[in-house]
């Protein structure tokens, strides 16, 4: 068994308490530990990504056979998500350290590591209840990060964030209860195997479970109508945290891709096209919400937050088709939109901290107006889906994949018109932020981003370390564009694997320890059903 599979969860889980409880009085020490840990995480993630080429690899926790214990599953999809998380984490962490955000409150690094643990755990698990546990971890850690360094507005938004997401967690528990009641199992592979075999009379329960889970994951993925928490949360969070949160919405998207295509796909009789039928209009409206938000935003941070909502809409439109070509597009767009959001938030931090406000009204230019303008231009192009960056390719792929007659006009109109509104919104914002102030000094900013007219004395110029993360995010977009061919080749292998339900099921259930014993007991258990159901399920819920 490949023990490295669990390493990206255990590493931050062991590091975080040490940073938080032992190193808490020394910021430099915590920084070194956190950076080293994230670097190691990145190395592990690359290793896992390279090793995830073949069939899904399964890690049987506690050496218990599936579906009785908990399993971790490393397949192409989870390896991709873990790698994406690690790369993003490294970028964001450097930014937070370079800008000093991490020292503006307590426990940034510990919470950051816990957050990574939660996100990565969610990507790796093969058990829906365990997914719930990791949702809890990432929720509470993200709450801590979100309110990092305090402030009235942030605390307010943080309260909303945590309350609404706790409501989502409660619903998650209900949904798990329904799933267990309908199928008697929580292992994803086992669910995938049992649900199609259920008698017709059980279909109603399965459908309820599927739809409740869709709402739960949709809440994380900021889908209409449960997206309302996102704009305020992202725009109030410290910018590097908001950049890290670019991966949080993807957790919701990942969960839908994973769980709903494994257990409630279109070919399952009980659910049929129900998930697509609900997901598609929700995603379309989400695009509209994002587009209107971008166009109507009066402040920079909400503008970016709404553009994230819009990008989730486009992503979920592709997911809603539940077929390989569209899923390939969705995965490509997922990677792209993660970096695009991160680039924008990180850049916004550099600008807003110098401009001292993110309100989109005329204010004096920042010291590095030219440089920031160029970076903003690039990042906004990425987010709005204009060439030459990957957003354009991603959108083309999504459009190209959405060819079902009933969906095409809606999807195309929403994505194209949404893009236009986003472009206009970003152009307005950029013009106000970077062009208009040049009129104040009476002369245009000289070339090559060097010496502007008169730098305000107290404004610190952003050093290389502060700018590097933003540039890296944009460079990531450029790489995703340049290597679109090989990358989407990987994506299409990945989506083929996502829809290869039999492969997943047999990898999880046929492998593993003490298989014989398991089969024997399964027979025994078939004889005396369900008496003990209450003993098992609430026991899990006990300590929450």
């Amino acid at each position: 068994m490949n023990h490295w599979i669990i390493a990206p969860v255990i590493l931050p889980a062991l590091l975080a308490p040490i940073i938080g409880f032992v190193m808490r009085h020394d910021i430099p020490l915590a920084r070194v530990a956190s950076l080293a840990g994230t670097g190691a995480l990145l190395a592990i993630a690359i290793g896992l990504f390279l090793s995830a080429g073949g069939d899904p690899q399964v890690y049987y926790l506690g050496d218990w056979p599936a579906p009785f214990g908990i399993v971790l599953v490393l397949d192409k999809l989870s390896a991709l998500m873990v790698l994406l998380t690690a790369v993003l984490a490294m970028i964001v962490l450097v930014h937070a350290v370079a800008t000093g955000w991490d020292a503006r409150g307590w426990h940034f690094h510990a919470l950051f590591q816990f957050q990574l643990m939660g996100v990565i755990g969610a990507f790796l698990t093969g058990d829906v209840f365990n997914l719930f546990v990791f949702f809890e971890i990432l929720l509470i850690a993200s709450y801590g990060l979100m309110i990092h360094s305090g402030g009235r507005k942030r605390m307010r938004a943080g309260l909303q964030y945590v309350v609404i997401n706790l409501a989502g967690s409660t619903l998650f528990l209900f949904a798990l209860g329904v799933i267990y009641a309908a199928t008697g199992t929580l292992n994803m592979a086992d669910l995938a195997q049992r649900i199609p075999e259920l008698p017709e009379g059980e279909a109603a329960l399965v459908r309820v479970a599927a739809i409740l889970l869709l709402v739960v994951f949709g809440l994380k993925a900021a889908l209409f109508p449960v997206h309302f928490w996102l704009p305020a949360t992202y725009s109030s969070a410290p910018a590097p945290v908001a950049a890290l949160f670019a991966i949080m919405t993807k957790v919701g998207a990942y969960a839908i891709i994973r769980v709903h295509s494994l257990a409630f796909g279109p070919d399952v009789a009980a659910t049929g096209g129900m998930i697509s039928d609900w997901l598609f209009p929700a995603a379309i409206i989400t695009i509209a919400v994002g587009a209107f938000g971008v166009l109507g935003a009066r402040r920079l941070m909400p503008l970016i937050a709404f553009s994230v909502v819009g990008s989730m809409g486009a992503l979920m439109v592709a997911v809603s088709a539940f077929e390989p070509a569209a899923m390939t597009a969705a995965l490509y767009y997922l990677v792209h939109s993660t970096f695009a959001a991160a680039a924008l938030f990180l850049l916004a931090d550099l600008v807003v901290s110098r401009r001292e406000s993110d309100v989109l009204t005329l204010r004096p230019a920042t010291v590095q107006n030219g440089l920031f303008a160029a970076l903003f231009f690039a990042a906004a192009i990425g987010m709005a889906g204009m060439p030459p960056l990957s957003g354009f390719l991603g959108k083309l792929m999504v459009l190209d994949a959405m060819r079902a007659p009933g969906q095409m006009p809606w999807a195309w109109a929403a994505i194209l018109i949404g893009s236009l509104m986003t472009i206009v919104g970003f152009a307005r914002a950029g013009s106000t932020l970077f062009w208009k102030p040049t009129a104040l000094s009476g002369e245009p900013v000289p070339d090559d981003g060097a010496d502007p007219a008169e730098p305000a004395p107290e404004q610190a110029r952003a050093g290389a370390a502060e700018i590097a993360p933003t540039m890296l995010s944009i460079a990531a977009l450029a790489l995703v564009t340049g290597f679109a061919g090989p990358l989407s080749g990987y994506m299409s292998d990945t989506s083929a694997q996502v829809f290869d339900r039999a492969g997943y099921v047999s990898a999880v259930l046929d492998g593993g320890p003490v298989k014989q014993a398991a089969e024997k007991d399964k027979k025994a258990e078939g004889a005396e059903p369900s008496q003990d159901a209450p003993a098992d399920e609430p026991a899990d819920g006990e300590d929450h």
Binding site: M1, H3, I6, I10, V22, L61, G62, D63, W64, F68, W106, L111, N130, I140, G144, A167, F174, Y180, A182, G184, D190, A204, V208, I211, L212, L219, V226, F228, A232, L295, G296, A297, G370, P387, L396, M397, D400, W412, L416, I423, S431, F434, K436, T438, E443, P444, P446, D448, A484, G485, S488, A517, D521, K522, P529, D532, A533, A535, E542, H544
Partner: protein, 961 residues
């Protein structure tokens, strides 16, 4: 890959690579910058011309690199006649513009930036005309929109520049997005995004049911780019750009992109009635409209801009005719328009540069002051007017010739009539350009004294003027080029016959009418101008701005109105949506009949149920009184615990009771610092709404519970029962599940607890260092404080109980693996023992006797649990694999040691640490808020006796912090 195709890719890439140069070379000075900018362009042009002989022979040079094969996108380029013509124009004019801009831009303008943008734009344009893949073409198409956005907004300190740039981006960007849709449909029809394939599949495309949508969407892209009615309004506003930009983008290149696209797609899309009626009509309207408006523009550049609109309309119309001859005429006019319009823009720039104004009404008589410029301007303007012997004459003749042959909606005269009308106005504004700028008397009120510019500045327009004359006098020189391009447009070999003198054709008569009419119009210009100014007419920019502002306002209302920050609304939407979706999902298929009988309801259950209902209802009713609500919540918790007892789940009952106790106690302590009542925040209607939603959701949950209690399901728990002792070493299945089967979940949950501890600490720090701290300090808590702060009985009782309670905790911990209990419950029990000390003897007093650092306790708990799990790796087993064995040390009985116990210890520590950290935080707040440390354990607050003395005066107390 052959050398040819390699060189093609280099040509396409050169401008982009070159774009890196000027930003750096500006440091070497402005001349060096300009020279180094010209280098890549010149190199690309030379390489391009090397291919010219082959292309003229009808050869098509191709190159392809894989990019995104899954989508059908490849970096495929091809060079045919049309591409050759346009690429030559783009690069050739690019060189001239580079030269011109060197002298045009002032020392204050960041020239490096300018050249970078210019090369980016050049690369994008070149990409459009060389793409052999329509997706690649789309990429370059949008790139031209973006780079022209930067160029138009180059003078970013000018509001016109910014607004013009945004308008151009919005309009051309919108068209580009529409075109994406059109191109994707086209690709779908043909089954390939390869341009060569698409051009070969014209029949199939035109017969397809999706032909019209594809055509309309693609034309939207072309029309917006080429400023066709009704999208023409952005072009004049883009004139806020520096003149070199206008000369380049708005005469030679970008606006021609739309025309190029129509020419490129001509074999695939043209020839249908739809094509004719849309393209030709739009072109015709644009031609006339642009010419009319141009006559009344006083700004030289605006005049030229509307003239460009008009000429683009002419080209569009010709392509719309769909005949081969018209296509030849279009290609020829593309060349001619390029030569005279670029020169005219540069002339306008020179005038502006020298006279410091472009307002025609302030100019006049410049012929004497700047003779060279006047010659250039006059010749090119005559060509624009279509007057012999200049090249514009020939192509206008051809256009009128084609118009005469065109029947529009069974009407043979409307097209020639309108075309002539356009020509009349075209002559009028061209003559106005000559007479009102260069003609007339020398004035003495120019903003600056004009004179001819240095050679470098007039060299470029002069060269173009030479071309204007050459092509006009010897049109056969242009024939091979026109044939080359027209062959590529029409798809088969064409033979253009370009002659200055065609004989007495109808076109000639129309031309004469145009010249005479134009001269008359100019003579009448003054009264006409007055009438024009007085007449009401739609101002496109105002409409566009209002529209955009309205849209932005609407967007703002929608997004701010729906995201108004009301948590109760968000939750209501969440719950309502969930309930409705759940109901719809449920009702979508029939459920099977229950497989279990309903059991009779015993009285004790009935009592419990009624109690639960009453208690819940009470919470709803009295939730504003927080203490009372808390007590009732405690009741609910207890009934649930009894429920677990009744259903034979002692572990759950134990956990539930201890969790309940700890939370209620902590909440009680916390409430001390909070208002005791919740304010009324919602009206009756809102409460009714929430009540309905809550009842519906509750009913849904109840229904679900009812359904699944009435059915048998085979579950995986049989395995857990069977393997608990055998494989997990414990007889208490619940505990084995927690620490072994699903230890990973528990591990996650104690981490949640640990994180909560961190957050509480961080929050408290923020609180005590923030503005809330002052409020906390200034609140007087003495009002409702008991005199008997720490009652004797309670203090004694809790101290006696403490060792017992801790022992119970240890006992529960140890027996956990086999009997109800475990680390989680044990942690809670011990923390209750400590909690009671806080309640009985006071925060401060207890805290002083508590030297354990709870922070570390949580940390160690998490680390111990994690390391225990990782210990399994040493044995080569997966994380959290447990090991256990039985030992016998006399005199103790045989006992079991399991690694699970160590894991449970981690759980115990994390739970205990978590609860105690919360308590510690509360006690810090308490002391911050002014609670005093009682020196004696049993404390009587004398200040409450007569109210005269403040608590601080008591000598039995000391105040902390």
């Amino acid at each position: 890959m052959t050398d040819d195709s390699f060189s093609l890719i280099i040509i396409a890439l050169l401008p982009f690579l070159g774009a890196l140069v000027p930003g750096v070379m500006i440091r070497a000075g402005r001349n060096a910058c300009a020279i180094f900018t010209a280098l890549p362009t010149a190199l690309a042009l030379v390489m391009l011309l090397l291919h010219a002989p082959a292309v003229m022979d009808g050869e098509v040079i191709k190159a392809e690199l894989d990019w995104l094969p899954q989508l059908g996108l490849s970096a495929a380029f091809f060079l045919d006649g049309l591409g050759m013509l346009f690429a030559g124009m783009i690069l050739g004019v690019g060189l001239l513009i580079t030269l011109y801009a060197r002298f045009y831009l002032s020392g204050e303008d960041p020239m490096g930036q300018f050249y970078t943008y210019l090369l980016l734009f050049q690369g994008a344009m070149l990409g459009i005309v060389l793409s052999d893949n329509i997706l690649l073409l789309l990429i370059f198409w949008e790139l031209t929109s973006l780079s022209s956005f930067l160029l138009i907004g180059y003078w970013k300190h000018l509001p016109e520049g910014r607004q013009g740039a945004r308008m151009a981006l919005a309009v051309t960007g919108a068209g580009g997005l529409a075109m994406i849709g059109g191109m994707l449909i086209l690709g779908n029809i043909v089954g390939s995004y390869n341009l060569t394939d698409i051009l070969a599949a014209g029949e199939q495309i035109r017969a397809h049911e999706w032909y019209v949508p594809a055509l309309v969407l693609i034309l939207l892209g072309a029309f917006t780019k080429s400023a066709q009615f009704p999208f023409h309004f952005w072009l004049p506003h883009a004139m806020a750009a520096p003149t070199p930009v206008s000369a380049y983008l708005h005469s030679a290149t970008m606006v021609k992109a739309g025309v190029f696209l129509m020419a490129r797609m001509w074999p695939a899309l043209a020839g249908t009635p739809e094509w004719f009626y849309i393209v030709a009509s739009v072109g015709l309207i644009t031609m006339v409209l642009g010419a009319v408006i141009a006559l009344f523009k006083d700004d030289l550049k605006a005049l030229l801009a509307f003239s460009t609109v008009s000429h683009l309309g002419l080209l569009t119309m010709l392509l719309g005719f769909g005949t081969e001859a018209a296509a030849i005429a279009a290609v020829f006019h593309i060349i001619n328009h390029l030569t005279f319009k670029a020169a005219l823009f540069m002339t306008a720039g020179i005038v502006d540069h020298e006279a410091h104004t472009r307002d025609i009404k302030r100019l006049g008589g410049l012929a004497k002051l700047m003779p060279i410029t006047a010659v250039i301007g006059t010749i090119t303007a005559l060509s624009m007017a279509g007057i012999a012997p200049f090249n514009g004459f020939i192509s206008k003749e051809k256009m009128l010739e084609e118009a005469v042959h065109t029947v529009w909606w069974e009407n043979p005269w409307i097209v020639p009539a309108l075309a002539t009308l356009g020509a009349v106005f075209s002559v009028a504004y061209s003559l106005r350009f000559i007479f009102h700028v260069f003609g007339g008397k020398v004035r003495d009120d120019y903003p600056a004294k004009p004179h001819d510019p240095p050679f470098g500045m007039w060299a470029a327009p002069a060269l173009l003027t030479v071309l204007v004359v050459l092509i006009g006098v010897m049109p056969f020189l242009a024939e091979p080029v026109v044939n080359m391009a027209a062959t590529a447009v029409t798809g088969h070999e064409t033979h253009a016959h370009l002659k200055l003198w065609h004989g007495l054709t109808p076109a000639l008569y129309l031309s004469i009418i145009a010249v005479v009419g134009g001269a008359i119009l100019l003579a009448l210009h003054k009264p006409l101008d007055r009438a024009w100014i007085a007449a009401p007419r739609p101002e496109a920019k105002a409409i566009f701005d209002r529209l955009l502002a309205a849209l932005a306002g609407l967007a703002q209302r929608i997004s701010e109105g729906s995201h108004n920050g009301s948590m109760s609304r968000y939750l209501a939407i969440f719950v309502a949506a969930t309930t409705v979706l759940g109901y719809l999902a449920w009702s979508g298929s029939a459920a099977a009949a229950p497989s279990r009988e309903l059991l009779p309801i015993p009285p004790v259950v009935m009592v419990g149920w009624v109690l639960l209902l009453v208690a819940t209802a009470s919470v709803v009713i009295c939730h504003r009184n927080r203490f009372r609500a808390l007590v009732v919540i405690g009741v609910i918790g207890l009934i649930i615990s009894f429920g677990f007892v009744y259903l034979s789940a002692p572990d759950l009952a134990l956990t539930q009771i201890s969790v309940e106790t700890v939370t209620i106690m902590l909440l009680l302590l916390a409430l001390h610092f909070l208002p005791k009542a919740t304010p009324v925040e919602s009206g009756a209607a809102r409460r009714l709404r929430d009540g309905v939603i809550a009842l519906a959701a509750g009913a849904g949950v109840a229904a679900l519970a009812y359904v699944f209690m009435l059915r048998d399901v085979s579950t995986i728990s049989g395995f857990h029962l069977a393997n608990s002792y055998k494989g997990g070493g414990g007889t208490n299945v619940v505990n084995v599940i927690l620490v072994d089967f699903r230890g990973y979940d528990t591990y996650g949950e104690i981490i949640v607890l640990g994180i909560a501890g961190l957050i509480i600490f961080a929050l408290m720090e923020a609180l005590l260092n923030g503005p809330a701290a002052a409020k906390l300090r200034n609140t007087d808590y003495s009002q409702d404080r008991s005199r008997d702060r720490h009652p004797l009985m309670m203090v004694i009782a809790t101290r006696v109980m403490m060792p017992v309670a801790i022992m119970v905790g240890v006992y529960i911990f140890l027996r956990g693996h086999n009997q109800p209990g475990g680390g989680f419950v044990a942690g809670l029990v011990v923390s209750i023992a400590l909690l009671m000390q806080y309640m009985a003897s006071g925060f401060a007093w207890t805290q002083r006797r508590q030297q354990i650092e709870y922070h570390s306790m949580i940390g160690w708990g998490v680390v111990i649990a994690g390391l225990t799990g990782a210990g399994a790796w040493l044995g080569g087993k997966p994380f959290l694999t447990s090991g256990f064995d039985y030992y016998h040390f006399p005199p103790i009985e045989e006992f079991e040691l399991a690694t699970a116990m160590l894991f449970d210890l981690g759980v115990f520590l994390a739970v205990l640490g978590g609860v105690m950290l919360m308590l510690y935080s509360l006690s810090r707040i308490a002391r911050y808020a002014g609670e005093t440390v009682n020196v004696a354990p049993m404390d009587y607050d004398p200040s409450q006796d007569d109210g005269g003395e403040g608590p601080g005066k008591s000598d039995q107390t000391e105040r902390e912090r």
